[in-house]
């Protein structure tokens, strides 16, 4: 195992994809993490011995997953078209969302999450407790009124009124109508936190989809999300930023010592403190707080506010 030369880095020696190694120096592979841990921290004279490799591998992957959830800031983005069914299927490696955008008229518009329910299951029903069942005794599902109204656009929004602002007659003073029926954004009691003209969405985690209101039909949607870094199970592609390399070793060491029988409490505590300190250090490093950047921010301190 050697470092790759610059030709390999820039061109991958002509093998497709030629950009495979770009930026690779920032990362250390899972294979290296496990190998280095076995060499340096596990053995006859180390704190950890007689440990199965699959246990080390498990803790290494768990550590990388945890880092991907927040500390790494490795945000992925996926753009898809939302069709008439107003759904955006969550990516295969989706764990949590960061931001959702509507790409329209060459502008990225950040969308607001609708806190109201936007989708529901419904059964074929004739009375309160009379449902239609299939041969397995399961209640037969049918599209809910909520879903159909959301899709055909008849579902009212609590965020903005329906009528278009341009249709307001400036010559007629009809305050109630203006305030309550037009999208003028001034309704009394309006939730200003969420009020904007862009489509809204809710995420149905169990169903694995994002549901939109009807104004999102046939629009381009960009989802920013985080994954767990497991690269769909391909161990050879899993990696960790070098700024977190020492933390990962400390995490594995702590996780093993903490679950091992007969390890003295002070050793477990030492490993825990070590792990936490290294995580803090790595987060500070990754945050890229440079004096010059701080200086630029401070230049705004004497700005006049209107």
């Amino acid at each position: 195992m050697t470092y790759i030369n610059q030709r390999k880095y820039y061109t991958n020696d002509g093998v497709s994809p030629t950009n495979a190694n770009w930026g690779s120096y920032q990362y250390v592979s899972l294979e290296d993490v496990v190998r280095n841990f076995e060499l340096m921290y596990a053995g006859n004279h180390e704190l950890i011995n007689n440990q199965n490799r699959y246990q080390i591998l498990f803790h290494a992957k768990r550590g990388i997953q945890e880092l991907n959830y927040d500390a790494f800031k490795e945000i992925k983005a996926l753009e898809l078209t939302v069709y008439d069914d107003l759904r955006f299927i969550l990516p295969s490696d989706y764990v949590n969302w960061v931001k959702l955008y509507l790409l329209k008229d060459n502008v990225l518009r950040e969308l607001t999450e609708n806190i109201q329910v936007q989708s529901a299951v419904s059964y074929i029903q004739s009375t309160t407790d009379t449902f239609a069942y299939d041969t397995d005794g399961t209640a037969t599902e049918v599209e809910s009124l909520l879903d159909s109204e959301r899709k055909d656009g008849s579902l009212k929004s609590i965020y903005l009124n329906d009528d278009i602002d341009g249709a307001t007659d400036p010559n007629v003073l009809y305050i109630d109508n203006d305030l309550y029926n037009y999208k003028i954004g001034a309704r009394y009691g309006l939730n200003t936190e969420t009020a904007n003209i862009n489509p809204t969405f809710t995420i149905d985690k169990k169903a694995g989809v994002i549901n939109f209101d009807s104004t999102m039909a046939n629009q381009q949607c960009v989802l920013q999300y985080i994954s767990d870094g497991m690269e769909n199970g391909d161990d050879s592609k899993i990696s960790v930023n070098k700024l977190f390399e020492e933390y990962i070793y400390a995490y594995i060491r702590y996780a093993i010592l903490n679950s091992k029988f007969g390890v003295q409490e002070y050793i477990v505590n030492r490993a825990r403190k070590d792990k936490q300190a290294l995580l803090r250090n790595a987060k500070i490093r990754l945050s890229n707080i440079h004096p010059s950047r701080l200086l630029m921010n401070l230049r705004g301190e004497n700005k006049w506010l209107k």
Binding site: Y54, R62, S236
Partner: protein, 243 residues
């Protein structure tokens, strides 16, 4: 070394005309003694590691563990394993790799001639769960194997070529054989030019141990308790010196 060991054993036994050991018996006792001492190397090696952890062992010329490792490594063999079918391979044996294994130390997995990873031995009680686990199922770079009878099964089963699995193992020492030519009316005369001649494979400093061990077996064989006890005391002295 085998001739000097035999001469020493005979010299001790013949004192007071206790008895005589035939070459056939000597070879049997020699084989048994060599196996005993070979086995003890691994136990002593472990003891030495414990002593190092207790900080009662030194480095440099005081590095006893290094000496044990050197002896054990003289029996090390690296060889591709013979494929039985698919991802199942035969363990090292006389018929496949040319020598029986005492300890399977390392199993390496190759693909298209390139080393992919070292396979980890997993018990049968774990392998089913391991294969079902998303995070830890064996992969090309982290393969695993289980052992059953004289076979090992490699996971994942993509390792299924003739030269896909290589093992580094510690073989058993070869059976020592003191060979001779028979003279008229006399004693057998040592002859190391014969094809089946085989010296001890243990280092020279084990000669004393071999003598002590063989004496114990011989003492029982000729029903002489004194010989047995002498061998036993000699062995204890040797072991005490080694600690």
């Amino acid at each position: 070394m085998i001739n000097s060991v035999r001469n020493t054993v005979l010299a001790i036994i013949n004192k007071n005309n206790y008895g005589y050991i035939s070459p056939g018996d000597f070879n049997l006792f020699a084989k048994q003694a060599q196996l005993d001492i070979f086995d003890e190397y691994f136990i002593r090696y472990n003891q030495q590691i414990n002593e190092e952890n207790a900080r009662i062992s030194g480095t440099g010329y005081a590095d006893i563990k290094k000496g044990y490792e050197e002896v054990i490594d003289t029996f090390s063999i690296t060889s591709f394993l013979t494929q039985k079918t698919g991802n199942v391979y035969y363990l090292p044996s006389q018929s496949t790799t040319g020598s029986d294994y005492y300890l399977l130390n390392k199993v390496l997995c190759f693909s298209d001639g390139n080393l992919k990873g070292e396979a980890e031995k997993v018990s049968h009680s774990k392998i089913t769960m391991l294969n079902s686990s998303l995070l830890t199922s064996p992969s090309t770079i982290f393969p695993a194997y289980t052992q059953e009878a004289d076979e090992i099964t490699i996971f994942p089963n993509t390792f299924n070529g003739i030269n896909d699995v290589q093992a580094q193992y510690i073989r058993y020492p070869l059976d020592p054989k003191w060979t001779y030519v028979t003279l008229y009316g006399g004693e057998p005369l040592f002859d190391q030019t014969q094809n089946d001649y085989q010296d001890f494979e243990l280092p020279i400093d084990d000669a004393n141990n071999l003598v002590a061990k063989i004496l114990q077996y011989a003492g029982i064989s000729i029903r002489e308790a004194d010989v047995f006890q002498f061998g036993q005391i000699e062995e204890q002295d040797q072991n005490r010196n080694n600690i």
